[in-house]
Every structure is written in C-alpha cells, then in structure tokens.
Point group: C2
Chain length 154, copies 2
C-alpha cells in the first residue's frame, strides 16, 4: 500500500514536471511557432490534476493511517482516481489529434513540427497512466480491505 502510494506520488510528480517543461518551437514559413502546455486548456487541466494528486498523496504519506479517517480517505481516493482518469483521457484524446490530426475536421498533425514537445507530452501521458493505474489498484485494495472486514464480522 505504501509502495503503491510512493509509486503514485512519483508518477504524478513526474507527469506534472514533464508536462510543464514540455515546449518546443518551430519555424514554419518564417512564422515562429511555439508549442507549450499552456496552449491547450486540456494540458493545463492535466497539470493541475496531477499537481493536486501529488499534493494529496504527499499529505497522506505523513498522515497517521488511523481507521477513523479510513472512510474519508477511501472517498477522497475515489475522487482523486476519477480526476486522474479524467485528465489522462482528455489529454490522450488531444494528444492523438496532435499526432494523427483529423482529416475530417481539417486539423493537421503537429508532431512533425514540434517533435520534442510531442515526446514530452507522450512521456507525461505514460507517467500519468502509471499514476492512474496505481490509484486504481490502491482503491481496489482499500475496497477489498473494507469489504473483508465487513464480511468477517457478519
């Protein structure tokens, strides 16, 4: 459990850092084009959610794991899992458009122009995915504990 929390913390922190440091610029027809995470509200949402999850996990690490707070932690874990899940899905959707474009909507892929940016975003997505899986497992484990206690008492 502690191991999963540490993994989640590492993953969310690296997702945040990698996404924030991702920027690249390209010259297209003498027009300077700079790619940053602040260009897309979705990427900003991703950074915010991963930062929140990092802070939350960090606080929990120094928190006495008393059973009286167990319920609150279970619910807040659930909410953090949902938020991470949501942010990574949104980012993945935008990332796919950035990589493959969408010919129907006339949106061109941008990874050819700003490969470094795309690599960073890809890295952040992988880290975010690891964090989401860690939270998913953590939640299932907590749930399993709560249920086992419940069944063993009846």
């Amino acid at each position: 459990m502690l191991l999963l929390r540490l993994l989640a913390l590492g993953a969310t922190v690296s997702a945040t850092v990698v996404m924030v440091t991702s920027h690249d610029s390209a010259q297209v027809f003498n027009l300077k084009f700079e790619a940053k995470y602040t260009n897309s509200p979705t990427f900003m949402y991703f950074v915010l959610m991963n930062a929140i999850a990092s802070g939350y996990t960090l606080i929990l690490l120094f928190f006495p794991s008393k059973s009286s707070w167990g319920h609150l932690i279970l619910v807040s874990d659930f909410i953090i899992t949902l938020l991470l899940d949501s942010s990574i899905s949104a980012c993945l959707a935008i990332g796919l458009v950035g990589k493959n474009g969408n010919s129907h909507a006339g949106w061109l892929p941008i990874c050819g122009q700003v490969p470094k940016f795309c690599e960073h975003v890809g890295g952040a997505l992988i880290a975010g995915f690891v964090a989401a899986v860690a939270y998913f497992l953590m939640f299932l484990y907590s749930l399993h504990n709560v249920m086992n206690l419940f069944t063993s008492n009846t």
Copy 2:
C-alpha cells in the same frame, strides 16, 4: 438507488442515441464536408462506453440484488464509473477544440460549418455527464452502505 439506476440507464441510452444520430454536412468551397461521430475515434469511444454502460445497467435492473453479488457489483460499478468519466472527459476535450479551435496548433473551430452536429454532440455530452454523475452518486451510496454495515458491526 433504483431511481438512480433508471436515471443512469436513461442518460447513457440517450447519450448513445444522440451521439450516433449526430451528423451534418456543409458545403465549403464546393467541397462537401460531412461531420459524423465516426470521424473521430474519441466519439466512437464515447458511444462504445455509453453502450456498454447502458447494457450493464439494463442487466443489473433484472438482477436479484443479493448481497452475495454485492461486492462484485460494487467493483464493476467502480469500473463503469471510471469508463464513463474517461469517455466524457475525452469527448469534452475534443468538443472544446471543435467549438473554439486551437490557434496555436492551427486547428480551426468547425461548429460554424456544422451547427447541427455540434448541437448533437453537446446534447450527448450533457446526457453523458448526467450518467456520470448518477454513477458517481450510486457508487458513493453503495460505498456508504458497505461502510455503515462495517462500522455498525465493530
């Protein structure tokens, strides 16, 4: 609880139907442009997830709510909640690009050309959001029940 399930069923079914029936075409510079949900993998993912959630909810309605299956249902509810949450986030991200465009990436908004399509997608997103909230509340309620039983026994 049954009310929430029915609400979730209605919402996922309408999200699926509204999204599937959304298409519009426009003539831009003599070039016919047709907008359909199959144009974007994200929208197809949204339809698939909402269809799965509809089927799942429908099955549960005819399922005897015995406590021996309660744990399995709690876990599967959790997974369905995550999937719905993920699909709606991804769709919202794409929908925002469709509505506002992204000047940094050179992606133009498309809602001006295909307003009917955008209205449908917006409607599907609202229905999907209702479904996600219904599932969220349902899950918290189930969790609350499990925990209360647990605390009353200790």
